[in-house]
């Protein structure tokens, strides 16, 4: 990285679930620099008490998502130059999740909703059964494939205005996972998935605003997955009344 004499004016949220405020740091600007680099520089050089979360630094683990200038982003793959407002940038904890401290949020509600949406595998056989043959060009498999690159970063959950207004709503990531399993030939309990997503906080609360699809860093399409669940549950409703 090339060192320049320029500095960035970085406002970082400091505080916990109850209270807090933005604190501004001057950070050396570099030609190639991510938001995570900036946050790490502050923690290593200005204030060692700054709390944040990251692991892989290459867009694989889904740990480092934060609000950058008010938008949810994976900070390890967000180049500073792309989001800079003048020489200023604001970094805050993810929206729609309880703040633990500074930039670290409690991800429990996010993952709890994956379980509530039946986002877990329901096996069709045991380890002693032969491996089922799955054709890659099968339409259901093609649909399931669309979302398997989800890294659970919670960017879609933070971007969702429905989650903000309705805390019971399962959210885009959990519903997308449910849709993936619904289309997986190896999943044995599709009705339990539909029952889970047809309840009070289920897919029918989605207003189709599409922030999830807009902000997904892996360019997945949770909105279409939710629409798929709505269609499947409507068919189930006409067939069996649920």
């Amino acid at each position: 990285m090339t060192q320049t004499s320029k500095t960035l004016e970085v406002s970082v949220w400091r505080g916990d679930a109850a209270t807090g405020n933005y604190e501004t740091f001057d950070v050396p600007a570099h030609d190639n620099q991510t938001i995570l680099d900036v946050v790490s520089w502050i923690q290593q050089n200005s204030d060692a008490t700054l709390s944040y979360r990251f692991a892989c630094r290459v867009g694989m683990c889904g740990s480092c998502a934060m609000m950058v200038n008010g938008k949810p982003r994976w900070t390890c793959r967000t180049h500073v130059k792309k989001v800079l407002d003048g020489n200023k940038v604001t970094v805050a904890p993810l929206r729609n999740l309880p703040v633990i401290k500074d930039l670290a949020v409690d991800m429990d509600p996010f993952f709890d909703k994956w379980v509530k949406a039946e986002g877990r595998h329901h096996p069709t056989g045991t380890r002693h059964d032969p491996m089922p043959e799955i054709k890659p060009d099968d339409p259901a498999r093609a649909e399931a494939n669309k979302a398997i690159e989800c890294i659970n970063c919670s960017v879609c959950y933070a971007s969702c205005d429905t989650v903000a207004g309705n805390p019971d709503y399962l959210g885009p990531a959990a519903l997308q996972r449910a849709w993936t399993l619904y289309n997986d030939a190896k999943d044995a309990d599709k009705q339990s998935i539909l029952d889970a997503v047809a309840g009070t906080g289920g897919c029918h609360n989605c207003h189709s605003q599409g922030s999830c699809t807009l902000y997904c860093p892996n360019e997945l399409d949770p909105l279409s997955a939710i629409l798929g669940l709505k269609r499947a549950s409507a068919k189930s409703f006409f067939k069996g009344g649920r």
Binding site: G165, H204, K230, A234, R242
Partner: protein, 110 residues
């Protein structure tokens, strides 16, 4: 705060209302073309089972649709839930149904 039952109620009532709204607009425009007075319109609607069914269905669909829609808005804007939210949903729906039914009865005389 929608489950599949409320969602289907709102969507199906909307599907029902779409042709009824278009029919209502078409009849309204047609009725005023020749300069029909309110009295002349009422002589045509009074005692008509067809108009009673048409607007009766319209009122029922609008009551269900409006009540479910308001429920979503109020929950997301105020956080109201549980007994209060159910009371609001049913209360608003029944008020719409009552007011609409009065209008339908006044126009059809049935």
């Amino acid at each position: 705060m929608l489950n599949i039952q409320l969602y289907m109620a709102q969507r199906l009532s909307a599907m029902l209302m779409a042709p009824l709204v278009l029919g209502h607009l078409a009849v309204m425009i047609y009725a005023i073309q020749g300069g029909l007075s309110a009295e002349e319109i009422l002589t045509r609607t009074r005692g008509s089972a067809a108009w009673f069914l048409y607007y009766g269905l319209f009122v029922a669909a609008a009551s269900v649709h409006g009540a479910v829609g308001l429920r979503v808005i109020v929950h997301e804007m105020t956080g109201l839930r549980g007994w209060g939210l159910w009371s609001l949903t049913w209360g608003f729906g029944l008020i719409l149904m009552f007011l609409g039914a009065r209008a339908v009865m006044a126009v059809t005389g049935l």
